[in-house]
């Protein structure tokens, strides 16, 4: 039954390596080059992943219409941590096929 | 009752040619829309002085005409003119067709047509535009209910027809008020603008009904009693006189106030004076009245058709004059001073319509024409023969 043990070992090795390999592609943590600096954004990373669009819409509304300004959370500050719009925003947006037009007017270099 | 109305056959080469013709107009409009959408309004000839140009002239003319087209049905349902009962379906359907054409142009000329749905999400009930969103869609719904009751439930006709009539009066007042409520523009601001739009809508709508009835009955080989057209001619005469009356009252009131001397003399002698004298007064009022009061031409179908054509040109001229002259006249921000600036303050705006604007405008006509042609092909809108009731004889010159 040596071959079964061999297969088992192979599987174990594969299961260890696979996440590392696939992480390098799309779902990597902050360690990988996704054009970001720092540990997390103004809220938890998971939360931001799911809700950044709603948060930006909400902020847009209260900033434009009620004049609420929180400089540290300003859209102008995104680029200080998310240094690459191409790697941070565009990559995922084009993967899921959404085309937000924020940066047609707001300045956020590529 | 059912046998009284029938669809047209719609297999003649003329019908198909007409379909193709309106299809081409629609295609021109679609092309213009896409081109402007991609390249921006810089591709048109509209400016920051004249922000509403030729597309709006087409759109508002069609919208005004649409509510007027319902008048034929209203006369039968609301005012008991039984002789026009056979035209009710035609009239209500034509109103929807024209409205759809006009509305399409209006919507497709927005700077950001992709955001159209925002008008449904955020509403400002102080805006005439928000009201018009409701009035236009409401008018279509009322016309549908009216048609539906005519087809299926005769007992609701009076109710639905009266509602549609009220709707059309409010609708056209609303359209006129887009301009009438604007205090900033001396040419626009007037309580009588709304009522004048209503009167103009009835002249142009009636004219459109006459022309289409004569043409459709002729080409489908159906019998159309001449005295019915004579009756509609009298309607056209009456409402043309009403338009004239309203125009005179407006001019009289404005000229009474020295504050309006400048702008009113500009209207009567300035660059848009030809549009006013020849278009609004000549084509819209003098020519139709001269033809229709003439015992020879006023009684011949050909003469009436010419008068109707002139009345429609008059309506378009009226809308174009209100819109273009109203926007071109410079603001008078500092009374007693002559203004000049890099933003062309104090100057009469120069505007000549561009080809893309014309294409978008005729696209609206294409939509209205296609809806009408397809409608008479698939719905029993037209009577097989139209005869005046016995003993009914309209006045004749």
């Amino acid at each position: 039954m040596a071959w079964i043990r061999f297969l088992g070992a192979l599987l174990a090795v594969f299961m260890t390596i696979a996440p590392l390999v696939s992480n390098a592609d799309a779902h990597g943590d902050a360690k990988h080059d996704r054009g970001t600096i720092g540990e997390k954004c103004i809220k938890d990373t998971d939360w931001m992943r799911r809700n950044h669009m709603n948060m930006l819409m909400e902020k847009r509304h209260v900033t434009v219409r009620e004049g609420v300004r929180v400089p540290a959370e300003s859209l102008l500050n995104c680029k200080t941590c998310h240094t690459s719009r191409e790697k941070f925003c565009d990559k995922c947006h084009s993967y899921v096929g959404v085309q937000p037009d924020c940066f047609e007017c707001h300045n956020y270099p590529k | 009752m059912i046998s009284e109305f029938s669809t047209i056959k719609g297999n003649s080469s003329k019908y198909l040619a007409l379909l193709a013709g309106f299809g081409v107009l629609l295609a021109l409009g679609a092309f213009s829309f896409l081109y402007v959408e991609i390249n921006g309004h810089g591709a048109t000839n509209m400016t920051n002085q004249v922000v509403w140009g030729l597309p709006h002239v087409f759109a508002i003319s069609l919208l005004v005409m649409a509510s007027g087209a319902l008048n034929l049905a209203s006369m039968a349902t609301v005012f008991g003119a039984k002789q026009y009962k056979i035209f009710r379906r035609f009239s209500a359907f034509l109103a929807i067709a024209l409205l759809a054409g006009g509305l399409a142009v209006l919507v497709l000329d927005l700077g950001r047509p992709d955001r159209m749905l925002l008008t449904m999400i955020h509403m400002n009930f102080k805006s005439m535009f928000t009201w018009n969103v409701f009035l236009y869609s409401g008018f279509v719904v009322l016309c549908f209910l009216y048609l539906w009751s005519m087809f299926q439930h005769e007992r609701y006709v009076k109710l639905a027809g009266s509602a549609a009539f009220a709707g059309r009066v409010i609708l056209t007042t609303g359209t006129g008020s887009i301009f009438g409520v604007i205090h900033a523009r001396e040419v626009f601001h007037s309580a009588i603008t709304g009522p004048t739009f209503v009167a103009v809508s009835i002249t142009s709508g009636t004219a459109m009904c006459i022309m289409l009835l004569v043409a459709t009955f002729h080409y489908t080989g159906r019998k159309l009693d001449k005295s019915l057209i004579h009756g509609l001619r009298n309607v056209l005469i009456f409402f043309t006189l009403l338009v004239f009356y309203l125009l005179v009252v407006e001019k009289f009131t404005k000229f009474y106030s020295p504050a309006f001397y400048d702008v009113e003399s500009w209207i009567l002698t300035g660059p848009y004076a030809p549009l006013y004298w020849i278009g609004v007064l000549g084509m819209g009022i003098a020519l139709p009245l001269a033809i229709l009061f003439n015992p020879g031409m006023g009684n011949s179908i050909k003469g009436i058709m010419w008068a109707c054509g002139a009345a429609i040109i008059g309506e378009v001229s009226f809308v174009a004059h209100v819109l273009l002259a109203g926007q071109s006249y410079p603001f008078n921000m500092f009374p007693g001073w002559e203004m000049s600036s890099a933003f062309l303050d104090g100057q009469v705006a120069a505007y000549s319509p561009g080809i893309l604007e014309l294409m978008l405008g005729v696209g609206g006509i294409g939509i209205a024409g296609l809806i009408y042609l397809i409608g008479i092909r698939f719905f029993r809108l037209l009577p097989q023969k139209a005869e005046a009731p016995e003993g009914w004889k309209p006045w004749s010159p």
């Binding site: 997390k40 103004i42 809220k43 938890d44 998971d46 939360w47 799911r50 809700n51 709603n54 948060m55 909400e58 434009v64 219409r65 009620e66 004049g67 609420v68 300004r69 929180v70 959370e73 037009d101 047609e104 007017c105 707001h106 300045n107 | 921006g40 309004h41 810089g42 509209m46 920051n48 922000v51 927005l110 700077g111 950001r112 047509p113 955001r115 925002l118 008008t119 999400i121 955020h122 509403m123 400002n124 102080k126 805006s127 535009f129 604007i182 205090h183 900033a184 523009r185 926007q327 603001f331 921000m333 500092f334 007693g336 001073w337 002559e338 203004m339 000049s340 933003f343 062309l344 303050d345």
Partner: protein
């Protein structure tokens, strides 16, 4: 902020917990939060006697601050503020030069006619266009008696020496002077006023009309000033002195 409420309602306990940790970050990174106040009424006063017809400091500064482009097409150029020359129709009074900009009316007709509430008036009296919401119908341009608004006819790009802090334009929407709301919210003056005082002749001042101690409040209430088209009853925030 509503976000917290929304996340608790919508996303369950785990996310809610992280959202509750999150405000800790705010405290460290951004203690500062400002909001338009209903107590203020921002206004401008232009001393016409001091405004020189050769001086374009205000218009130049506005274009620079707000990235307002020129298209070399006078019919379609965007003007947030412009210099207007006035000549007496009877030729008796000397000619006058003055800036004209959005008057930030108390009862703005542009806001009344806007179908989507894209044009709106802030609590502090600044009239703005929410360019995310504007559908480009141009009704506001019809309704404004001061010709303060422009439609963006062409797409534009941020120029090399442009101001990256202010958005560039969206094609097909209407825009106008914002009273440099991004500066006012930081406690600064609009760019035109700043430039007029620094490079121009100091004809323009800016401040809170409701603040009895402000210079503009004192002058507007003590000196005879006038507004444009006062007959329309709009109560503009731009006052002119010496006309």
């Amino acid at each position: 902020m509503n976000m917290d409420r929304r996340s608790v309602l919508g996303l369950g306990g785990v996310v809610a917990a992280s959202a509750m940790i999150a405000p800790g970050i705010h405290l460290i990174a951004a203690p500062e939060r400002t909001e338009a106040s209903g107590q203020s009424r921002w206004a401008m006063l232009v001393d016409v006697n001091k405004c020189d017809s050769d001086c374009t400091a205000c218009t130049t500064a506005c274009r620079q601050e707000n990235n307002v482009p020129t298209f070399d097409d006078p019919q379609r150029d965007i003007h947030w503020i412009r210099k207007v020359e006035l000549k007496d129709k009877k030729g008796k009074r000397p000619s006058v030069s003055l800036p004209v900009l959005c008057n930030h009316c108390e009862h703005p007709p542009c806001v009344d006619v806007c179908p989507t509430e894209a044009s709106f008036i802030r609590k502090d009296g600044i009239v703005l266009v929410d360019k995310h919401r504007c559908i480009g119908c141009r009704y506001c341009m019809i309704a404004c008696p001061y010709k303060a608004r422009s439609l963006v006819y062409h797409a534009t790009e941020l120029s090399e020496n442009g101001n990256a802090d202010v958005p560039i334009r969206g094609k097909g929407v209407v825009e106008k002077c914002t009273f440099c709301v991004h500066l006012v919210d930081q406690g600064k003056k609009p760019a035109c006023v700043d430039a007029c005082q620094k490079d121009g002749n100091g004809a323009m001042i800016f401040g809170d009309l409701n603040d009895g101690q402000s210079e503009i409040s004192k002058r507007v209430h003590e000196i005879r000033t006038q507004t444009m088209r006062a007959d329309l009853g709009l109560n503009p925030a731009v006052h002119y002195q010496g006309l």
